[in-house]
């Protein structure tokens, strides 16, 4: 009794709000730091100032404007998140599609590999990697991307596997389309929806992971800011300067919630339903049409 329905009920107020938060936040993060350079507040002793005159969100412990720092931090975390998600998408799709198109034995081996890899305590290994190899944004998003691609490969493989059987692909082939053409014109568009949805779900997770690592001191190094480092700063000063944690932590929480919700709504719009394992795309009539859950 799930409410599918390719329905667009237009833009509801909540959807509008979500769009504003998500897009607005992204724009602010990308362009903000240019407009609001975070210089020191001046004066001999840099102090943490509460919200007030001149500083909308107060200043951090080194006297830099909180809002500016926040925008910079958002930018870092967002960048890492996007890069990692993109990396994961590329690797995952290629691997999964390859497995789906390959013969049964290769398919089986490749996916068993993924399953085994998923059983490993990956975040632990990521923490390991990052703590040992030093703090750099490059390493960060590569490491996170390498963790994130595994479930994506499952989705891609399931999608390809199912679509293989579709009669219209046979028809396309018989009409003279080469394998490449069939892939490009038919397979990928169908895969697009579940993958897009998965990516929108993946992004907040990866961003949270980046913030997590930065919080532990394993992410980007100062003076570069990341949402995580700002929050760490806030935690340290929770008694004396609570506004740091509130603005940094609150904004991250808000952002993640907005992304999650937006991802859900997108999923509903595109008729992708989260079944027991992977993602399934159903047509308006409710029949499965794309990737299916693999056991």
């Amino acid at each position: 009794m799930s409410p599918s329905g390719a329905g667009s009920s237009g833009i509801t107020p909540l959807n509008a709000l979500l769009l504003i938060i998500v897009i607005g936040g992204a724009v602010a993060a990308v362009f903000g730091p240019q407009l609001l350079p975070s210089q020191l507040a001046g004066g001999i002793e840099p102090l943490a100032l509460p919200p007030g005159a001149g500083h909308l969100l107060g200043t951090d412990s080194l006297g830099r404007d909180m809002l500016a720092r926040l925008l910079e931090g958002m930018r870092t975390t967002l960048f890492v998140g996007l890069a990692a998600t993109l990396l994961a998408l590329v690797i995952g799709t290629l691997y999964g599609a390859a497995a789906g198109l390959a013969g049964p034995r290769a398919d089986e081996t490749m996916m068993r590999g993924v399953d085994v890899a998923l059983a490993l305590p990956f975040m632990i290994l990521v923490i390991l990697l990052v703590s040992l190899f030093g703090r750099s944004m490059l390493l960060l998003f590569i490491a996170l991307g390498l963790v994130a691609w595994l479930p994506l490969a499952r989705v891609a493989r399931a999608g390809v596997h199912n679509l293989r059987e579709e009669p219209y692909l046979e028809a396309a082939r018989m009409m003279g389309g080469s394998r490449g053409y069939v892939l490009r014109a038919h397979l990928f568009p169908q895969l697009g929806a579940p993958l897009a949805v998965y990516a929108t779900w993946m992004l907040p997770v990866v961003m949270m992971q980046e913030a997590f690592l930065s919080f532990l001191g394993l992410g980007v190094a100062p003076p570069r800011a990341s949402w995580g480092t700002l929050i760490a700063d806030g935690v340290a000063r929770i008694e004396t300067a609570p506004w740091i944690l509130l603005s940094a932590g609150g904004s991250l929480a808000l952002w993640l919630i907005a992304l999650h919700l937006a991802g859900e709504r997108l999923a509903r719009r595109l008729n992708v339903h989260r079944t027991t394992g992977a993602l399934e795309r159903t047509t308006a009539a409710g029949e499965p049409d794309g990737g299916e859950a693999t056991a």
Binding site: M1, V116, P121, I124, L128, L132, L216, G249, L256
Partner: protein, 305 residues
């Protein structure tokens, strides 16, 4: 029991992979445990490294490591040479385990309870979902300090950090368990709702069972395999989160040692901790699979009438 043996055997390659990967990563990393110390003369440093066997070729170190491992030792901790790495880790494992179990209980209670409520009373579903979403989207390292601020600093009901009494367990367990519980709520709600629509459950209702009875006797048992599948990622999430929670609340657990040791290049501890985490995950996986097999009578009744 045959199944148990089979699963254990299947896990060995994974364990092997974990150990090897960890070893490679750790040794491939630049820097060594003693390089960052304040000015130590080259000769002295070489000496110390030799003593720990760090100057030998990697392959040799790898073999030696395995030999030690199989006799049950991880070697001494580099940071605290007087203590064995294994000893340090085991000491830390206890608080981590307690915290983990407590957090898992929180997550299960809230997750299953909330999910069941939302499934049985669809009108409560939107608010429950919303709260669950907030719970799961707030990062642990934001939630923790906020809880500390509220319950420890402002209200003074609970201790802010450290370890020692059951009261110290409350905030860390809540911090770790709430986000996982939030995710579980939404999962269980979806699963249970679908299960309740099945013909078997309708038939059960027709026999006069109440909501809770239908859930307990029919809908939940049918959904159990899915829940068991969910356990493994759930535990993984708890493990990951615990690293940060232990830091925030100064819990003397494995997570705290792990990060510090990684930064200090204390290889035995780092490898040991990774191993323990990997083993824990594999154990959970295996138990879930076993439970699955136990609970489904179809898998052990062969005859048909």
């Amino acid at each position: 029991m045959k199944l148990l043996r089979r699963r254990l055997l299947a896990s060995l390659p994974t364990l092997f992979a974990v150990i090897t990967i960890t070893f490679i990563i750790v040794r491939a990393a630049p820097g060594g445990p003693f390089r960052d110390e304040k000015a130590v003369p080259e000769a002295v440093r070489a000496n110390i490294e030799a003593r720990y066997g760090l100057d030998e070729p990697l392959a040799v170190q790898y073999v030696k490591f395995w030999r030690n491992l199989l006799t049950g030792s991880l070697g001494p901790s580099f940071q605290h040479p007087e203590r064995s790495a294994l000893g340090v880790l085991v000491g830390g494992a206890v608080p981590s385990l307690i915290l983990g179990v407590a957090a898992a209980l929180v997550a299960l209670l809230l997750g299953l309870g909330g999910g069941t409520l939302a499934a049985l009373r669809p009108r409560t579903s939107p608010p429950v979902s919303a709260v669950a979403l907030i719970a799961l989207a707030i990062p642990v390292f934001v939630l923790g300090p906020l809880l500390i601020r509220l319950f420890a600093l402002e209200l003074g009901w609970l201790p802010a950090a450290l370890w020692g009494s059951p009261r110290h367990l409350v905030l860390p367990a809540l911090t770790l368990g709430l986000p996982v519980g939030g995710a579980l709520v939404r999962f269980w709600r979806t699963v249970l709702t679908e299960s309740l629509d099945a013909p078997e459950c309708i038939a059960a209702r027709a026999r006069g069972l109440t909501d809770l009875e239908v859930v307990r006797l029919h809908a939940a048992p049918r959904s159990l395999p899915l829940l068991l599948n969910y356990m493994a990622p759930m535990i993984a999430a708890l493990v990951t989160g615990s690293v940060v929670v232990e830091k925030i609340f100064a819990v003397p657990g494995m997570g705290r040692y792990f990060v510090d040791s990684a930064l200090a290049r204390d290889y035995p501890i780092v490898i040991g901790a990774t191993l323990i985490y990997a083993v824990a995950l594999l154990v959970v996986h295996t138990m879930a699979d076993l439970a699955h097999a136990r609970l489904d009578p179809r898998l052990h009744r062969e005859h048909n009438r």
